[in-house]
Amino acid sequence: MFDSIFNSVIRFATEYNEHFANGMAYLGAGIAVIGGLGPGIGQGFAAGKAAEAVGRQPEAQSKILVTTLVTQAVAETTGLYGLVIAILLIFAR
């Protein structure tokens, strides 16, 4: 009697834990992607400054474009790390 109740409780707990872990992983993936806020702000700032620089010195446009692209790609890295964590949480758990 007691044994069967105990077993069913154990089974319920394992099933519940599985669903709980799944849900928490998806929630964590969603939270990890909030890290995209930072690169958005940073890239926008860099693009604004680049536009300012082109307005001040239009003949240097090609060099400013190259520098902006490279610096924006570097600033993007932290957001990409958040994305990697989200992808790992969803697919490769």
């Binding site: 692209l69 490279v70 790609a73 890295t77 990409l80 790390y81 990697v84 697919f91 490769a92």
Partner: protein
Amino acid sequence: MQFDLIGPISPAVISTIFIVILLSIIFVIAGIRVKKMDPAKTPKGFMFLMIVIVDFFNKFLSGYITEKRRFNFFAPYLFTILIFLAVANISSLFGMTAPLSNIGVAMSFSILTFIMVRVTEFKFSTLKGKFNSLVGPVKALAPIMVPINLIGEFSTPFSMGLRLFVNLLSGAIITAIFYGLLGLIGGLFAGVALHAMFDIFFGLIQAFVFFMLSTVNLSMASEA
């Protein structure tokens, strides 16, 4: 999507091998024909295209690496990487899996960068200069600065490879989500914009960014 690190040959590796064979055939033919060319005549067709590409690259790179010895050492490697990445990133337009959407291919690029930076340091800088750059300007802070600088030596190539991988993978995932949501008819219309955005635009920008960061890292390593 392929997340196996170890396993049978993945489609990304197959398309990598295919692209390598294709590019080597094209450039070996170009190299053979360049040797037989008459300098007095104007080149035509295929050779004209090759010469324009190489000349444009040389002009662009000489704005960043001015010294002749360094330029001759870096230019072939950087040109190879730029051409391979540009072709590899737009290869999904031709029905192949994008090679960089597999982490194994992307991480091999970071290993390549790491080896190239070490070779550059051995070739262009002395042991004393390397030691000074590791310790930093203030000798008293050496116990703190040496581990940080050593981590920096490894993390720069790692983040470069990871950047390539995640950019291409995010494009592939967003494209797959849109195709799944829109079905066949909607996918036909959305595919034009999606592939133009994620394959051509982002792919070429990532190839260019990897090339520029390699240039910066290599010239920094050679001057340390």
